[in-house]
């Protein structure tokens, strides 16, 4: 388990403020945020490379806040991997083992071989690190960080320096490795896909603060601000005004109208006034006739643009405000979707998330 308890860090004129977050033992958590949000600074602070102005870092219940980096037992892998260029692959992996308890040349060799086998880099052990591909470098860096059996693994944008195909493979391998080693892992990334595919927990950072945290699906489905919604790519984020149309229920929520320009939607709200409506593209239903049933919002719209993304088609619609819907290629073909075509849009009031 690693727990961050009210961390405050200053690097130059940049501040991390009141960072509190917990990753359970064996968990995989991600900190996501745009460039400059303070993710790497946070990892450096956890690892002991940036001093804390306030707060505590607890690794498996042990307060490591005042310990130097070498006594924290936290493995770190940076974005550019930072392999030691004057050492071979095997020497890189073995680097931290001289300090491991019970270390001996035989134990070191066994651990290096085991990790190399797990990561598929046995053939590289005698090689120098120059000339390794991005994926190979990443595997070596992870093996090196894991070798001394740290209590927590910290990963800084581990997929940023590899191509998309390698990224997919590495994500899968990292998940397998995490399950095999059972190590508590904290990764920072700017890619919410990493959180959806790898994480048990996610925290979204902006300008030195954690602005939302929770399970990745929940953050994706129920972002708490327009910033989070846009950053995690929930879909449509429309600014507008909420006007109450019904009486509040036992939970305080009420039927309302969300107005943005000429777009009017029936919604369920818990407050009136200015708000953002967050709507997932998959929740926008398209048909050639008004959809029957319980769907409260039925609007005739014009198709502006159609973009084929493999099995999914993104359809940009003029509905008073631009909205993007996602349908299958079969639906797009059945409806004859192309620019200028008029279709009916259906949206359940409960599918509109107001922030």
């Amino acid at each position: 388990m690693i727990r961050l308890d009210g961390l405050r860090v200053r690097v130059g004129s940049f501040d991390l403020v009141d960072i509190s977050f917990e990753v359970p033992t064996g968990g995989y958590a991600l900190i996501i945020g745009p460039t400059g949000s303070g993710k790497t600074t946070l990892l450096d602070a956890i690892a002991g490379h940036a001093p804390l102005l306030a707060g505590r870092v607890l690794a498996h219940g042990r307060d490591v806040s005042s310990l130097p980096p070498e006594q924290r037992r936290l493995g770190i892998v940076y974005q550019q991997y930072h392999l030691f260029p004057h050492l071979s692959v095997g020497e890189n992996i073995a680097y931290g083992l001289r300090y491991a308890a019970g270390d001996g040349s035989e134990a070191t060799a066994t651990r290096v071989r085991a990790l190399a086998g797990l990561l598929g880099i046995t053939a590289l052990l005698e090689r120098g690190v120059r000339g390794l591909s991005g994926g190979e470098q990443q595997r070596v860096a992870i093996a090196r960080a894991l070798a001394p059996r740290p209590s927590v693994l910290l990963l800084d944008e581990p997929f940023a320096a590899v191509d998309p195909a390698t990224r997919t493979i590495l994500r899968r391998e990292l998940r397998v490795l995490h399950e095999a080693e059972g190590i508590t892992t904290l990764q920072v990334t700017h890619d919410f896909d990493d959180a959806l595919r790898l994480g048990d927990m996610v925290a979204v950072m902006a300008e030195g603060h954690i602005v939302q945290q929770g399970r990745p699906e929940d953050v994706f489905r129920y972002p708490n601000s327009a910033f989070v919604a846009r950053f995690v790519g929930t879909g449509n984020v429309v600014a507008g005004q909420v006007e109450r149309t019904g009486e509040p229920g036992a939970d305080g929520r009420f039927a309302a109208r969300f107005v943005s320009g000429t777009l009017e939607l029936h919604v369920i709200a818990d407050r009136e006034g200015l708000a953002h409506a967050v709507i997932r593209p998959e929740d926008l239903l398209l048909s050639s006739t008004p959809l029957p049933g319980s769907i409260r919002n039925r609007i005739e719209v014009v198709v502006e643009r159609v973009e084929h993304l493999g099995p999914v088609v993104q359809v940009q619609l003029a509905a008073g405000r631009d909205l993007v819907a996602a349908v299958t290629t079969a639906t797009a073909s059945d409806l004859g979707l192309r620019p200028g075509v008029r279709v009916w849009l259906g949206l359940k009031a409960t599918a509109v998330h107001l922030v």
Binding site: Y78, Q80, G96, A100
Partner: protein, 250 residues
């Protein structure tokens, strides 16, 4: 046109050196090598330059690391101070050192009472050499440290290295060639020093002063063999620097 202009400068550098090398006859060089005064002078020069470089390394490498890594108030001022000897005319440096280290100054007097005299003594030669060569070593070492990514050191610390262990196992091996190249250049600069030493310690004579002495006393023919020998030492050092300096600096 660019090539022509560049060639003129190259010719200006190479021409005098080639002319000097061809001035010395093999027999003249042979007798110069057998000259006990010249032998003693070259030995003194090499010894003092080595001592000055060792002191510059012991004091300058930690300073270079600090200047490369730390950000603190006054860092720019410190960088300027380190480079100051480069812009000071060397006789001026000699006079300043004379005033600072002479027996009548507070520092010089205190050191003299401990048995360390500078003016007209060997330590004066080392002091002059150190003053002019230290900036070269510090600059070279600082540049070498700057090229070592601090994140390599952070990784090493997280893998269990203490600050010193990380410096010894990661920073020094990676910056080592650059520091060594800076050290050799500083040593070469010490060997060629004249201006400050001539004021601090005319005797015993280092090679540059001996050459000047023979030129003023006996003329060109007496100075040339010694000058050629010193030039050969300088060229050998130059070749060594090219051999050890990091590939990206070549």
């Amino acid at each position: 046109m660019l090539a022509l202009l560049g060639s003129m400068l190259i010719l200006f550098i190479v021409g005098p050196l080639v002319r000097l090398l061809f001035m010395a006859s093999p027999s003249g060089l042979g007798s110069a090598l057998a000259d006990p005064e010249l032998q003693a002078s070259i030995a003194l020069t090499v010894m003092c330059a080595t001592a000055a470089t060792a002191i510059a390394a012991a004091l300058g490498v930690p300073l270079a690391y600090l200047l490369a890594r730390a950000r603190f108030p006054g860092r720019r001022l410190l960088l300027g101070i380190v480079d100051l000897p480069v812009v000071i005319p060397h006789p001026v440096a000699g006079i300043a050192l004379l005033l600072f280290l002479g027996r009548h100054s507070a520092v010089g007097g205190a050191l003299a009472s401990l048995g360390l005299e500078f003016v007209s003594h060997v330590p004066g030669i080392v002091a002059g050499m150190l003053f002019v060569s230290a900036p070269i070593l510090v600059s070279g070492a600082r540049e070498a440290f700057v090229t070592v990514d601090p994140k390599l050191e952070r990784v090493a610390r997280s893998l269990g290295d203490s600050a010193w262990g990380c410096f010894r196992r990661v920073t020094l091996p990676l910056a080592g060639r650059g520091i060594l190249a800076g050290g050799i250049l500083a040593w070469a600069r010490s060997v060629s020093e004249f201006g400050s030493i001539v004021i601090l310690t005319y005797n015993p004579k280092v090679a540059s002063i001996l050459i000047f002495d023979r030129f003023t006393a006996y003329g060109l023919p007496a100075a040339v063999p010694a000058a050629v020998l010193l030039l050969m030492v300088a060229l050998a050092v130059f070749a060594l620097v090219r051999l050890v300096e990091p590939r990206e600096h070549r």
